[in-house]
């Protein structure tokens, strides 16, 4: 019987027997076991781990894993109209090329000297992002749009010293789960929901007024809202908040800001959101990349929990460099418990993707894509509105997403989506459990990747499915 080869691991160079022995000898130890003497015998794990037999060759590994992935249906081969916080857009090849550069992909916490490139990218990302959203200061990216929203609210509380915040009722329930958990036992003692007009989905200013008190730290608004509509009363909400001594925080989809007014223009103090649409693949939700941006106000910047870098002069001569940290006392690394929330590894590689994306797109590209999306999504809405039994409950304009009501069809969204699936279409996200008041509704998302043909295909499919 042929002998099995003894294993040397390609990723573990010192697993070569001769190297191992040499190193053991030089370390003055006969067996690696001796190096574990610090762990009490009682706590030692004595049996082998129960794990599957390894696939030692790359060929076998790739075949195995791609075989499992092959069971997935992606938005490449299916026509997808899913949005709700994660968006399918074209990712320019240059973006993928850059973020797959080994230097960027495998860097971590080198210094501002050894990793100056990474710091410069971060500075460029912050510069472009803040301008896009109409703010002046931001830090390294944070986790996702929802936890960024939570941080924005806690910043409001810390700056004003007040314990309550107002949040519209149209914020996604899943987002609220993140925000509520983050605000529990914090500077925030209460989150009050503000109602939106049932016919427009836009925030009800009277209710904002009614709910603003001396305890209100901040008012949070999403634009576009989770249900897709473009909020028109930004300035009014800002004014109401500010008159009350509260701050105004806005959650955005940065993809819309080539055509939509940045919240900085209508009085926002803090802007948060998720930059995944800007050049990051969806990755089943793993593309999320949050941010929090503020104005150049010392008391606000002081409350940002994120890592930040500042551009700096060189000590001698022309040129610039970057600081490792800026204003380090805010951070959990320096201050531990006294820090503003906590920070650490988040989503830096995606901010590199964002930087490249925005550089490629430029101001005109962001405008073009915004316009293309607006036109296509409104076209889709029009096509669907023409289908009998389908209703568009909100006449308000939207950016890329809009609500479709299927009550008239007598079918549930779930049934409709299942039928669409058979036609290789991912229907809009089912809202019926999240917002029961809306009935059998779904959130349809359109992006620049959808052709007119795709949209007509959707309309045709829906017509067939509800018949």
């Amino acid at each position: 019987m042929a002998k099995k080869r003894s294993v040397v691991y390609p990723y573990i160079p010192n697993s070569v027997a001769a190297t191992r022995s040499e190193m053991l000898e030089k370390t003055g130890v006969k067996d690696v076991e001796e190096l574990y003497v610090g762990i009490p015998k009682k706590l030692r794990f004595k049996r082998p781990l129960k794990l599957p037999k390894p696939l030692l060759s790359e060929l076998e590994l790739k075949r195995h894993v791609s075989g499992i992935l092959g069971k997935n249906k992606s938005c490449e081969e299916h026509l997808s109209f899913l949005g709700a916080g994660c968006y399918q857009h074209h990712v320019p090849s240059v973006v993928d090329t850059v973020i797959n550069r080994g230097e960027f992909l495998t860097a971590y916490s080198g210094s501002n000297y050894s990793d100056m490139g990474r710091f410069q990218v971060m500075f460029e990302y912050v510069s472009m992002l803040t301008d896009l959203v109409g703010m002046e200061v931001a830090g390294f990216p944070m986790y996702d749009g929802s936890s960024s929203g939570g941080t924005a609210l806690r910043i409001c509380a810390r700056v004003t010293g007040r314990p309550e915040v107002l949040v519209p009722e149209t914020v996604s329930p899943l987002r609220m789960k993140v925000i509520e958990n983050y605000c529990r036992n914090s500077e925030i003692k209460a989150i009050h929901r503000v109602s939106c007009h049932p016919d427009t989905g836009l925030i009800d200013l009277r209710d904002v007024k009614a709910k603003l008190t001396a305890n209100t730290a901040g008012v949070y608004l999403e634009n576009p809202s989770y249900l897709g509509m473009i909020e028109t009363q930004g300035r009014e909400v800002a004014d109401l908040a500010h008159e009350n001594g509260s701050l105004f925080a806005v959650g955005v989809n940065p993809m819309s800001l080539g055509v939509l007014a940045p919240p900085g223009d209508y009085g926002a103090d803090i802007v948060s959101g998720d930059t995944q649409p800007l050049g990051v693949h969806m990755n089943y939700g793993g593309g999320a990349c949050g941010f929090v941006a503020v104005r150049d106000v010392e008391e606000h910047i002081a409350e940002l929990p994120a890592l930040m870098t500042s551009i700096a002069d060189l000590e001698e001569g022309e040129g610039f460099g970057f600081t490792l940290f800026a204003w380090a006392e805010r951070l959990s690394y320096a201050a531990r418990e006294n820090a503003k929330e906590y920070t650490g590894t988040a989503t830096a590689l995606w901010s590199t993707a964002n930087a490249v994306y925005l550089a490629l797109m430029g101001p005109q590209g962001m405008k073009d894509i915004g316009e293309t999306i607006l036109q296509k999504s409104h076209y889709a809405k029009k096509l669907l509105a023409e289908i009998p039994d389908l209703k568009m409950p909100f006449p308000s304009t939207h950016f890329n997403e809009f609500v479709v009501n299927f009550d008239g069809t007598g079918k549930t969204v779930s049934q409709i989506n299942a039928a669409l699936l058979k036609r290789k279409i991912f229907g809009g996200k089912d809202l019926s459990e999240e917002f029961p008041r809306l009935g059998q509704c779904a959130l349809y998302c359109v992006s620049e990747i959808h052709t007119a043909k795709d949209l007509k295909k959707l309309a045709r499919a829906l017509k067939e499915v509800i018949a």
């Binding site: 490792l324 690394y333 418990e337 006294n338």
Partner: protein, 372 residues
């Protein structure tokens, strides 16, 4: 434009130590020391510190005193210096030191370096108070004050950073003085004398996983806020001496005795600079708490500089009602050594020993060891 630096060397500081004498204050002791064969330590220490400033010859101008009080140490160095003052060379006195310090301050120095011990620190304090940053190059036997660099070389390094303007701030540090007569009679009695302003290095750490040290005043304020937010009604609070405790009074917006004990009840001032008797009277029959911080370079919690909070006061109040506050920076300056207590009463010392939760920020505590 050269930066102005002062240098005062106390030539007799430290002479007592090597021959077994505890210090050299007073001409009698000094004569005894010289007779036994003590030689001056200070010049050597001064030179070691000055070595660290090598490279800054073009940037600095020293102001110093005649002869052994600084001139002879600066002469061989490359530094420009002006000898000021009207002190005749020879055996120097405390008055000489104080006069020199005043004159050097008037020359407009940015930093005053001195070589000496607690006694010299006290002299400098008398002369300049907190009007100019001071840094001690250690040379005396007893170093209870917190105004010294850890070694002459480190003092030189710190001075260099400060003079180069490299992110070094200043903070207040205790000047202590042991009662010499009591000391030689086997009794210990230390006084908190005052506070000098010393350079304080805010370490720049160039690694993304660490940050710079928290700003001292922000941290001190956080500690004070934590104490005040936890103050209970109808409970006496005896606020001990120190800069960290001073901030508690500031948060309450009450006048503060930096070197003494103030008493607060329901956030109002009840007594200022109270002595033991007054403290005992005011805590009689009421719930009471003591708020203390470590004093001086030796890490004393009780017994050096706050003796008004005597063993009797501590016994009445009880161990559980002692609130210890300190910045982490101050705790780490103890280099792992425990905090010390010396109330003069063995039983009370025992009671205080063990571990204590030190408030180091808002809702932030550090468990630290206390020994007698």
């Amino acid at each position: 434009m050269k930066r102005k630096v002062g240098l005062i060397v106390n030539p007799i500081a430290g002479m007592g130590g090597k021959v077994g004498l505890k210090g050299t204050d007073g001409p009698e002791i000094l004569k005894k020391a010289i007779l036994i064969g003590a030689t001056p330590e200070s010049p050597r220490r001064a030179i070691r510190a000055l070595e660290r400033l090598a490279g800054l010859e073009d940037a600095l101008h020293f102001f110093t005193c005649p002869g052994a009080m600084g001139e002879s140490e600066l002469a061989p160095s490359g530094f420009d210096h002006t000898v000021i003052g009207s002190i005749a060379p020879g055996d120097t006195t405390a008055e000489d030191t104080e006069r020199a310090a005043r004159e050097i301050r008037e020359a407009g120095v940015e930093l005053l370096l001195f070589v000496g011990g607690d006694g010299t620190a006290r002299n400098i304090y008398n002369a300049v108070g907190d009007q100019v940053p001071v840094l001690g190059i250690p040379a005396g036997v007893k170093m209870h004050s917190a105004v010294f660099g850890t070694t002459p070389r480190n003092a030189g390094e710190l001075a260099k950073l400060f003079l180069q303007g490299k992110a070094v701030g200043t903070r207040e540090a205790e000047v202590m003085d042991i009662d010499e007569d009591a000391f030689r009679d086997q009794r210990v009695s230390a006084r908190l004398y005052g506070y000098l302003r010393i350079p304080f290095e805010r370490r720049l750490v160039q690694s993304v996983k660490a940050g710079a040290a928290g700003q001292e005043d922000t941290v001190v304020r956080a500690i004070a806020l934590d104490v005040v937010s936890n103050m209970e009604p109808d409970c006496i609070y005896a606020i001990g001496p120190g800069t960290t405790t001073r901030e508690v009074m500031r948060v309450l917006d009450l006048p503060n005795t930096l070197l003494g004990v103030d008493v607060v009840l329901n956030k109002s001032l009840v007594a200022s600079d109270a002595n033991e008797a007054e403290l005992l009277e005011v805590i009689e029959g009421k719930p009471a708490r003591i708020v203390v911080t470590i004093i001086g370079g030796q890490g004393y919690l009780f017994g050096r500089g706050n003796q008004q909070i005597s063993d009797r006061v501590i016994e009445r109040v009880g161990r559980d009602n002692i609130i210890v506050i300190a910045t982490r920076a101050k705790l780490f300056a103890l280099n792992g050594e425990p905090m010390l207590v010396d109330t003069g009463n063995e039983t009370v010392n025992e009671m205080l020993s063990g571990y204590v939760k030190v408030t180091t920020g808002v809702k932030e505590k550090l468990v630290y060891k206390v020994c007698s």
